[in-house]
Symmetry: C2
Subunit: 407 residues, 2 copies
């Protein structure tokens, strides 16, 4: 049985244009001889009755004793309703489809409610349903514990559902449909000549996703990578096959150095200098952040002190904690982390030089930097971010043309 | 552990007045030392987003290939959402509550989707939740098959859920909350001096329910009866304990002959006369009705022919079938079945005489009659129904006063 997994977001279920195009993609796959496993998110936009946030608003969960177990049970209804409405739409359009919830589709998870991990996939039932139907629509974002409790998979949960199904069924492709043309060299909202990539490696897309590119959840990528199932990021509204995510191997990948530029804004840089005679600074600072459940990033540790970034929302809390411990942090709010991602970076001389040159030509100061073998990160001021991403996009010729001349 | 099961309808979850009163009943039970298992229906009235019919409208099930399995999965969301909103409301009001779906509460059913039968109750989980919470809110109307498919229990499903939980947990009481004061001697909308009964037998309430009194589903009564758990039909909006449904035993029950008058209107009487020389009429007629899935009632078989009633909606279809078979039925549309229910009827002389006298005094013709040891049924014209029910209610002194003089 040739199987393809196709994941559609909430708007593909809710509005006419989305429905029309998703139907087209499914019919196309059927014509090519595939059985199609469709994964859907909750339908509709914020504020509509069956959207995730509307369901959540029914209980104002924070103020009351409602458990995360109950919250997951409630939210799972959003995707269940969506899956059945979608299956109904397919049947009305002559496609032999049926819908099932995550539990019946085989998602066995731990009981880490609101952010459950998949511990096993039991897809026998789904396989036998595929014998009798051309399409099985699975409610995304959800699973079930051994004890029978419904769970949800956390952020990007429906992407993860699609990947886990693709891996377990050994599908030919996992297609993640979005509203962009694929994985872009940079955010097209800020870089005019950003273009979709034909192919990226699993590592690159993971790094881009973790670095702020909101195309697909990294967990979904890791599952597909592990199972060696090709994953495609595609546009619902186009016939293009989008960006293929694969292992390193294609000529396109091998020839290029940098794949894309990602960014995250609204970041705060915090520096704490070592006090004379006290040598417990590093342990004290990071223990205090961890105890307060504050994520730290971009960590530079040196004999004279530490520097790191936190999400702008927790600035005040982070600073207060440091002051309580007797430190006087140096705080720079309104920063942005710009990531230069590319599997080809490792061992290629001159990449850092190119970055520094491109930014300094624009008069953009680098507040901090870090690098791995596939990514270089620079911290700049928020106000410089758009210019920085464009400069780097140009310097590495990501638009597919020659680098532009910068003044 | 002292347990009470309390079932609330959708309006008790949705509107302020309903919430306030149901909270009062639950707190009262807690003060008396009970743990409370609450069963809820889907919330809201027809047309609101999480009401059963609104969910069903999302798929217009009849016209498409959506299976009854999917329909049940969809509808189950209504009660799940309701249970969590209700649990949240309780917690906000200082009651330690949690919610679970039917599957987790232990409802094991067959796979007769849309009308599933409970085959087993596995309440260990629910019992352990009651150790840690004062109230567990269970989504009514639903269960799960051995294979893991969600099912619904059909009409009156939440009543059935409450009874099954009460039976399995050996609860002290099963309270079914409605918008009336209990089981009434007759429909208060048509009999001005109808009054709530303090106590009725399981058999009486079953007969009244099957005869058109819409208080509680007979299946729920049968389960409670079998488990010998007292069931009470109560008003959400009153502190009264309503009507106790029990085995025959109380003085009130033993002394009275007739308990109540029920009615069903919009019934069609069909008579088919035996043709000379043909003796297969009985078998032919009822086989034909069964083959067309038409329910028949009030069956009088005699050597000269048969008479029976059908729901007014299927009159045309029933008549067409009979004509196809070569019969010319005598059809009387717009009839009503009036039931005189009482565990004391059996063996008491003069009951039939009293009925006939009461009706003939009002000039009401009896089109047909039937009787069992606990109920006497008469078929009258729809236009006579209200007068007939009032006359019988008066003749048997059901208002609690002396019988009125009829002109």
């Amino acid at each position: 049985m040739k199987i393809i997994v196709q994941k559609f977001g909430g708007t593909s279920v809710r509005d006419d244009r989305g429905r029309k195009h998703s139907l087209m993609h499914i019919k196309h796959a059927l014509e090519e001889g595939y059985k199609v496993v469709v994964v859907v998110s909750a339908m509709g936009r914020s504020g509509e009755p069956y959207a995730t946030d509307t369901l959540l608003n029914l209980i104002e969960a924070k103020d009351t004793g409602v458990s995360t177990r109950e919250q997951d049970l409630l939210l799972s209804c959003g995707e269940i309703i969506s899956s059945i409405v979608f299956s109904n739409m397919l049947n009305k359009n002559g496609v032999k489809a049926t819908a099932i919830n995550g539990a019946a589709a085989g998602f066995c998870t731990n009981d880490d409610f609101t952010n459950a991990k998949i511990v096993d996939m039991k897809c026998d039932r789904l396989r036998s349903m595929l014998e009798e139907h051309d399409v099985v629509v699975v409610a995304g974002f959800q699973g079930q514990t051994e004890e029978g409790d419904i769970t949800t998979l956390g952020r990007g949960g429906s992407d993860t559902s699609a990947s886990a199904l693709g891996a377990s069924l050994q599908a030919d492709y996992i297609d993640i449909f979005t509203d962009v043309e694929g994985v872009m060299t940079a955010d097209p909202r800020i870089v005019e000549d950003a273009r979709p990539l034909d192919v990226v490696t699993y590592n690159e897309i993971c790094n881009m996703a973790y670095s702020g590119a909101k195309v697909i959840h990294p967990r979904a990528v890791e599952i597909a990578m592990h199972a060696k199932v090709p994953l495609r990021v595609r546009s619902t509204y186009s016939t293009s096959t989008g960006t293929l995510v694969t292992v390193k191997g294609s000529n396109e990948i091998q020839e290029r150095i940098v794949t894309g530029i990602a960014h995250v804004s609204h970041v705060t840089q915090i520096k704490v200098m070592e006090k004379e005679g006290a040598y417990d600074l590093q342990a004290t600072v990071f223990k205090a952040m961890a105890a307060a459940n504050i994520s730290v990033d971009f960590i530079n540790i040196s004999p004279t002190g530490v520097a790191y970034t936190v999400n702008g929302d927790v600035t005040e809390r982070a600073v207060a904690i440091l002051r309580e411990k007797g430190y006087e942090p140096i705080v720079t709010e309104h920063c942005a982390k710009v990531s230069i991602v590319g599997a080809g970076i490792a061992g290629v001389p001159g990449v850092t030089s190119k970055i520094v040159t491109a930014l300094s030509e624009q008069g953009i100061g680098i507040l901090q930097s870090a690098d791995s073998h596939t990514t270089i990160w620079v911290l700049v001021r928020d106000e410089d971010m758009i210019q920085a991403v464009n400069a780097l996009h140009g310097a590495f010729e990501l638009s597919g043309e020659m680098a532009k001349d910068f003044e």
